[in-house]
């Protein structure tokens, strides 16, 4: 019995609340023109704010589209764009390989010249490892200096 009375109170409370707010709705629906317009402008500005980031991220989304359609022959503009960006990198790699090869050639040629000079000299290469011969060369250099 008490429970049903409480429910009835709630129902009356709800009815009263809705009766009051129905009157308030009348007031809200008859706002002055300038207020309504400023609210409309505020709404448009807020919604415009939502659109702005979308346009900013559009190119990013399109790039993803290009990558996604790579295997299907679509989005060629984006594919060529990516390939063109790789050209300078390819040139750099080719340049480094060329420099490395030239350097190897120079080193090989230098070693070959030394070998040729040693082999074509009158003196046998074994003489350079002879301690007596080295002493002989030193004493000759001293005599020439005097």
């Amino acid at each position: 019995m008490k429970h049903s009375t409480s429910q009835q109170d709630l129902s009356i409370q709800d009815r009263f609340g809705r009766a009051v707010t129905a009157r308030l709705s009348e007031s809200a629906s008859t706002l002055p023109y300038d207020i309504s317009e400023r609210l409309r402008a505020a709404r448009m500005q807020a919604l415009g704010q939502r659109r702005a980031p979308q346009t900013a991220t559009a190119p990013h989304v399109m790039n993803h589209g290009g990558a996604a359609t790579l295997g299907f022959g679509d989005g060629e503009g984006s594919l060529w764009h990516r390939l063109a960006a790789l050209i300078p990198l390819l040139f750099l790699i080719a340049g480094l390989i060329a420099v490395n090869m030239l350097n190897d050639d120079f080193d090989a040629k230098e070693l070959a010249d030394i070998d040729a000079a040693i082999l074509t000299d009158d003196l046998p290469p074994a003489a350079y490892t002879d301690a007596g011969f080295v002493q002989f060369l030193k004493s000759r250099l001293e005599q020439q200096a005097q």
């Binding site: 109170d9 009356i12 409370q13 308030l24 007031s27 809200a28 807020a46 704010q49």
Partner: protein, 190 residues
């Protein structure tokens, strides 16, 4: 859950903007400030919550509106004045010697053609109601307006206000009693 489309957000804001403005006016009692608060709330909703499902927008917007109103009070350095009203919760005398039914007009739904006199009277009644709404303590007013004007249920109102469902029921009950008493004292029947 389906996310809100731009059209849905636009429609939602359109449906709620006038009530939001009036609610802010009841709180801050200043049209310019109320417009700023509503605009801030709309911006924040769109900026941070436009990826949420459409069904969640009402509760989120009410919460943002409440926070923006509170921020406005903070900026105005009148926070103490705002929260001093909250002590009114405990001060309410809960004598049950009045009858809500007395303030509810029995002739609901009678659609008589309004005369100019009636219109003036209605406008006067409306002003009195708005005045009494403004006189309510902040939390009672918030709960009452969210529950009955924004048509949020108790759970949604509690979530928007950041309090328990029991508190919402208490605030609403006290707000209804205070309004009913005040309107009855002025001889206003709804």
């Amino acid at each position: 859950m389906r996310l809100a489309s731009e059209q849905e957000i636009s429609d939602f804001l359109k449906s709620v903007e006038k009530r939001a403005f009036k609610r802010s006016v009841y709180h801050v009692r200043n049209d310019e400030a109320a417009l700023d608060i509503v605009q801030d709330s709309m911006m924040k909703l769109v900026e941070h919550y436009s990826h949420k499902p459409a069904a969640e927008l009402p509760m989120l917007f009410q919460r943002i509106l409440s926070n923006c109103t509170l921020d406005w009070f903070r900026r105005q350095k009148t926070r103490n004045a705002l929260f001093s009203n909250m002590s009114d919760f405990e001060a309410d005398d809960m004598d049950g010697d009045f009858d809500l039914l007395e303030t509810l007009n029995a002739s609901n739904g009678s659609n008589q053609t309004e005369s100019a006199e009636n219109q003036t009277e209605r406008a006067q009644v409306l002003l009195e109601i708005e005045k009494e709404i403004q006189e309510l303590p902040t939390r009672q007013r918030e709960a009452f307006l969210m529950r009955y004007w924004e048509d949020l249920d108790v759970a949604e109102t509690a979530a928007a206000m950041g309090c328990s469902e029991g508190s919402v029921k208490t605030h609403c009950s006290r707000a209804v009693q205070a309004l009913s008493k005040a309107l009855k004292a002025k001889g206003i029947r709804l």
